[in-house]
């Protein structure tokens, strides 16, 4: 990962042994002092919640944090870029997006009137796929799908890393999924209500989400029915900046069934897809996406996985996460995405203290 300071990765025992003249010493504090300072200058977690920085500029001021005037020629090129993006691409994309969303709502409502039958399912899939494709065009999305033979099957659960709200559209461009999510108000709510008539998406009321057992039960029922479309879940729970994969919440892995992992990696050269929800609201985010050059990404379908007899949900979640990180070229972090907003638990600090004192006892400095 791109860090700014050189970190000494020697383990604590070795480092402290080097410092020792005798047993417990004033010097032991050095190790912790330095580690503390390194953490203050740069920590692994916080940098994941801001956009990745590019080595060479892609003519979007938003990706160059240290933007400053370099040359006249570059500025002229940049101005032309702005004109193209805002006056030409944006209206085009906006029109397409409107067409896409309208057809989705109208199409889904119309199909929803039909009685349940295979014709209905076929038409519903057609509507969803077509509208997804229109929406992807509206974002100028260029998506490369790899290993299509591993595409999620009916009755399975599709699991992917989360970078932005458009992840769902990227995936539905290539297949039909049953979405899982909270019921929203406004335009999103209208879309949700329309689509659920045509296809069995799983929308939860806000109060239901709090009840984990209810959620698990409903999802289990859905998965047990082999004729239903695969569910799409993002287990990180929040948007990460696409350079790493954070902890997967184990709830998705307790439902049972086959897990189809999918790795999504965006190419930052053409546009930054990461949604920093603490900095931008959804409207400014969509505006930024629509005024980027394009959304280019790679999607890898990984071979299906099942929970083994001897592993629990957490270990299974970690196994799936490793596979996704490995395929997408992302680093793995054991931290919880919830750290975007919350503090670290005290148990972690106690761990480190325990390790240190265990070391002292071993060295025999205590009787």
């Amino acid at each position: 990962s791109q860090g700014i300071i050189e970190r000494d990765e020697t383990p604590m025992e070795k480092e402290i042994a080097r410092l020792h003249r005798v047993d417990f010493e004033f010097s032991d504090i050095f190790y912790f002092c330095r580690k503390g300072f390194e953490a203050i200058v740069e920590d692994e977690v916080t940098q994941r919640f801001s956009s990745e920085e590019l080595v060479s500029w892609n003519l979007l001021t938003r990706t160059n944090v240290n933007f400053h005037y370099i040359s006249l020629r570059l500025t002229v090129v940049w101005v032309i870029g702005v004109v193209v993006r805002y006056c030409f691409l944006l209206p085009l994309r906006f029109t397409l997006a409107t067409i896409g969303i309208t057809s989705m709502i109208v199409g889904a409502t119309v199909v929803g009137q039909l009685p349940n039958s295979s014709v209905k399912n076929y038409l519903s899939e057609l509507v969803h796929l077509t509208c997804s494709r229109i929406l992807v065009r509206a974002l100028s999305g260029t998506i490369h799908y790899h290993n299509k033979e591993n595409k999620p099957q009916k009755g399975g659960i599709c699991v992917a890393n989360h970078t932005s709200p458009i992840d769902a559209i990227i995936l539905t461009n290539d297949g039909c999924y049953a979405m899982v999510g909270q019921v929203h108000g406004g335009l999103m709510g209208v879309i949700q209500r329309a689509t659920v008539k045509a296809c069995p998406h799983v929308w939860f009321e806000r109060s239901e989400i709090k009840d984990r057992h209810l959620v698990t039960k409903r999802l289990r029922e859905h998965v047990a029915d082999k004729s239903k479309l695969p569910i799409l879940i993002f287990p990180e729970g929040t948007c990460i900046n696409n350079t790493s994969v954070m902890m997967f919440k184990k709830g998705s892995f307790e439902i049972g069934g086959t897990i189809y992992p999918v790795a999504i990696k965006y190419d930052p050269q053409f546009g930054d897809a990461f949604w920093n929800s603490s900095k931008y609201n959804i409207v400014s985010y969509l505006l930024r996406i629509m005024t980027s050059w394009a959304i280019v990404c790679n999607v890898w379908y990984l071979p299906p996985m099942v929970k083994k007899e001897d592993e629990d949900a957490v270990q299974f979640a970690n196994r799936v996460r490793s596979a996704i990180a490995h395929q997408g070229g992302l680093t793995e972090l054991p931290w919880d995405g919830g750290l975007k907003r919350a503090k670290v638990k005290d148990t972690f600090k106690e761990e480190q203290q325990k390790n240190y004192s265990k070391m002292l006892v071993r060295n025999g400095s205590i009787g």
Binding site: F24, I29, Y69, I70, K349, Q352
Partner: protein, 213 residues
């Protein structure tokens, strides 16, 4: 003409910092991140660093940032908030040795780092590390272990203080009481031990951003 990025004010520090402007920009960005775009940082802002939570002496490290003695201020005690210049001042205690330093500079360098450490131990700012203060540090480092009793932590601290006393005040008479380790004694303890390489944070060489001309 493109918009100007906000460049941080480069303070004048004594002794002068030989870090590149890029490193200062990085630190400034980090400062803004920690302060949530305010001009100053308070103690609470350090709570947002998950990696720091691991550290058993976290309290002392954060405390060190607000210690007036470290900020080279004349008075004593703690400040409530620090600005970017103060932040850089504290960071300067951790810069690595440069090749072109002469004897005098190296010696001063070393003293600065040891002084910083001394302030960490000496929590009541009286210029001496007493047994009680030392015990505090040991307890903090070991407090997470439930099997270790307070007595053991105490005996470790006492043992180390006796060792220190023998080095510093070997010539003490039998009826003299050892009050505490002064800074001079502290320096004596570290003679011959290379601490400069243990107490630094080294910046990686930044790759140059491709410009087009």
């Amino acid at each position: 003409v493109g918009p100007q990025g906000s460049s941080p004010p480069v303070p004048s520090l004594f002794p002068p910092l030989t870090v590149t402007s890029e490193q200062i920009e990085h630190l400034h960005r980090r400062f803004k991140q920690l302060s949530r775009d305010q001009l100053t940082i308070r103690k609470e802002n350090f709570d947002s660093i998950p990696d720091l939570e691991f550290n058993p002496i976290r309290g002392k490290i954060v405390h060190a940032f607000f210690d007036k003695r470290n900020l080279r201020q004349e008075s004593d005690g703690l400040v409530d908030e620090i600005n970017f210049e103060d932040f850089l001042t504290i960071m300067s205690y951790f810069r690595p040795i440069e090749m072109n330093m002469d004897e005098e500079q190296l010696d001063r360098f070393r003293k600065e780092k040891l002084k910083f450490l001394f302030h960490m131990y000496d929590s009541d700012h009286d210029g001496k590390i007493t047994v009680q203060e030392y015990r505090n540090v040991v307890e903090e480092l070991l407090s997470g272990n439930p099997h270790l009793e307070k007595e053991s932590a105490r005996s470790i601290a006492d043992g180390a203080m006796m060792e220190a006393a023998s080095i510093c005040a070997g010539q003490m008479g039998p009826d003299q009481v050892y009050e505490g380790i002064t800074f001079e004694d502290f320096l004596k303890m570290w003679q011959g031990i290379d601490i400069e390489t243990k107490m630094h944070v080294r910046f990686l060489n930044m790759e140059t951003i491709a410009h087009c001309y």
